[in-house]
């Protein structure tokens, strides 16, 4: 797979020009994509972090000491061998809630990110390829409107109207409110690609528009798409937590956001139960940082002259 768009180098000037500050080694023949990503230390750390979370989420029933909804423990117990992080005001095991909570975050991240990326791709690619036509005008307008509307108030309003707040509703609402930035980036990218010779060649050989856009051009942007997916997934995880701390989370399951909501509602900090507040936010931040770190590696794919940093 050749995922080294030359235009990035052209657009941003020759990296060698900055060489009076640092030595730029000759760029070698590009490695395979996973080698490039893995070559970044940040990305390696990120991949290890996310992998650990995925393992915990998948094997939650084996890892967690108790059922997260079992309220048979002594309320307000401190950390102990039985309850690693203590218990809540209604006698649930905090550590088990934390472990099961990873499932919701990863689920929302995976599917919210996928869906948002797909919407962004379809709208951005079509709009960019049709640049200057009425189709582009309409799609660009929709994108710009979606970009201006503040996401969290819109998500809150949409979710507030629905009676059943399942995890899929949250995934859907997050996806349809967060695709716009990605769509705009993809539109800009395809505009720089669509007049290349290989596109002209494809047109002359009689390929259809859809095939040209999604089969010929899109593979040249795969690193951008990957970066956008990781970014959207991170955003989706954050948005779910934001909704849940307002009491708008999935009422059927435990997530880190709902833990924070409960902790705040039960007055955890006034009672000095700081572990209950501290740990869910921390594990959330570590997961999201891990994902952001992965993107440092993915960025190396689309922007070769960042590679000297790694």
């Amino acid at each position: 797979m050749t995922t080294t768009p030359l235009n990035d180098v052209m657009a941003e000037g020759d990296p060698a020009q900055t060489s009076n500050v640092e030595q730029v080694p000759d760029v070698e023949r590009p490695d395979r994509w996973w080698q490039v990503v893995w070559s970044s230390r940040k990305a390696r750390i990120g991949i290890v972090i996310v992998a650990a979370y995925v393992l915990v989420a998948v094997f939650a029933p084996l890892v967690a000491p108790h059922d997260p909804l079992d309220s048979s423990f002594t309320p307000l117990a401190g950390a102990s061998g039985e309850n690693w992080l203590g218990t809540t005001t209604d006698g649930r095991d905090i550590a088990s809630q934390l472990i099961y909570g990873s499932r919701i975050s990863l689920l929302v991240g995976l599917f919210g990110g996928l869906l948002a990326t797909m919407i962004a791709l379809v709208i951005g690619m079509i709009s960019g390829y049709a640049e200057g036509t009425i189709v582009d005008d309409i799609l660009s307008f929709i994108t710009n409107v979606a970009l201006v509307i503040p996401t969290l108030p819109l998500i809150i309003t949409l979710v507030a109207y629905s009676e059943v707040r399942g995890v899929w509703l949250i995934v859907g609402v997050i996806a349809i409110t967060s695709w716009a930035g990605g769509a705009r980036a993809k539109r800009a990218q395809i505009i720089t690609l669509r007049n290349r010779d290989f596109v002209t060649a494809a047109k002359f050989s009689g390929e259809g528009t859809m095939r040209i856009v999604f089969r010929e051009i899109m593979p040249n942007m795969s690193s951008l798409v990957a970066a956008a997916f990781v970014g959207s997934a991170t955003g989706a995880i954050g948005a779910e937590a934001g909704l849940a701390v307002l009491g708008l989370g999935d009422s059927q399951s435990v997530s880190w956001g709902t833990m924070l909501y409960q902790a705040n509602a039960q007055g955890a900090i006034t009672q000095g139960l700081w572990l209950w507040v501290f740990v869910p936010g921390l594990v959330l931040a570590i997961l999201m940082t891990g994902m952001a770190f992965i993107n440092f590696g993915v960025d190396l794919l689309s922007n070769p002259h960042l590679r000297e940093d790694a």
Partner: protein, 329 residues
């Protein structure tokens, strides 16, 4: 001139789209939205109170009639500034309830937004200038990590440490006994109550500026005019500030307005934690009490606010950068 006309045209079109969206959201669910909402308020099995249904319809913008007629009435009410009555603060008008909270949030968000912009620009520019230095990696990694923190969580931690444990700041509300207004006692109380919420927002908001500024500045540092400036023997400080940073600042100006939406989102969560008497807490209350007229109006208000900020940024950009004007004429 064409540039400004285009931007203004986009503003009007977006405003229309947002207003229409606000009209459509309650109608997305199947059935009569008024009945559904009243049913929700009254509980599943309770009989419908016709008066309530009528009140609800009035709020939704139309007693009866086709969707188009409802839309027309809705627009009419909007132009007259009539947003209906709030449920949770009955019999106050939505506009009155919002008016109480409005300035709390506007001041909080404006102050933190401007401060975080300044902090972010300076740190980002310096990180780019000292690229690959220890400072650069600390700032880049640090801001990546801070950017992933939940505003609500930061707020709770600050509350725990500075509010409850150390007792340096009040833990909730916006003021104590003083009468709101331009008197010293009130301003003093408002500032001490706003300090922690502002700090919480400040911790999570400069992130975008830092990374954005750093990346555009690195790009600019590779340009020919920077080489020329260095070749002329200009001191580093002049090259960095007057040449590279000045040009790198431009994209951040457009970003300024778009970031406002994110800051508003953060403010909603932070206000919730501090029980701060602004629009964010009001939104939380509206959700909790299913106060749909209030919720809809808040949503419209925040969106229009971001929209206006966006227009101002676009116009300013046109003034600052002649290329933007020329490119589109």
């Amino acid at each position: 001139m064409k540039y400004f006309a285009r931007k203004f045209g986009f503003f009007v079109a977006t405003l229309w789209a947002v207003v229409t969206l606000n009209f459509l959201i309650p109608r997305l669910q199947p059935g009569d939205p008024a009945e559904i909402i009243v049913k929700k308020l009254a509980g599943k099995d309770a009989a419908l109170d016709p008066a309530q249904v009528r009140a609800m319809r009035a709020m939704l913008g139309a007693p009866d009639g086709s969707l188009l007629q409802q839309y027309a009435t809705y627009l009419g009410e909007l132009v007259r500034g009539n947003f209906g009555l709030s449920y949770s603060y009955y019999p106050f008008k939505v506009t009155e309830v919002i008016g109480q909270a409005f300035w709390w949030t506007v001041v909080l968000v404006t102050v933190t937004q401007v401060l975080s912009f300044a902090v972010g620009i300076v740190l980002g520019a310096y990180a780019a200038w000292r690229r690959n230095s220890r400072f650069d990696s600390v700032v880049t990694l640090g801001s990546t990590f801070l950017g992933t923190l939940q505003p609500f969580w930061i707020a709770l931690l600050l509350l725990y440490v500075f509010g409850y444990t150390l007792g340096w700041f009040p833990t909730s509300g916006g003021y104590e006994e003083s009468t709101p207004g331009l008197n010293f006692a009130f301003i003093q109380e408002a500032v001490s109550h706003s300090f922690l919420p502002a700090l919480a927002l400040l911790i999570v908001t400069p992130i975008g500026w830092i990374l954005g500024m750093r990346n555009t500045m690195i790009m600019n540092l590779g340009e020919d005019y920077i080489r020329l400036a260095k070749a002329k023997g200009l001191p580093d400080r002049v090259v960095a500030l007057k040449y590279a940073a000045r040009n790198a600042l431009l994209p951040s100006v457009t970003g300024f307005a778009l970031a406002l939406g994110g800051v508003l989102g953060g403010a909603i969560l932070v206000e919730q934690a501090f029980d701060y008497p602004g629009l964010g807490r009001l939104m939380g209350e509206a959700v909790e009490n299913k106060d749909y007229p209030l919720l809809q109006t808040l949503m419209l208000l925040t969106t229009v606010g971001v929209l206006i900020a966006n227009l101002v940024a676009d116009l300013l950009y046109g003034v600052l950068d002649p290329r933007a004007r020329r490119a589109e004429s």
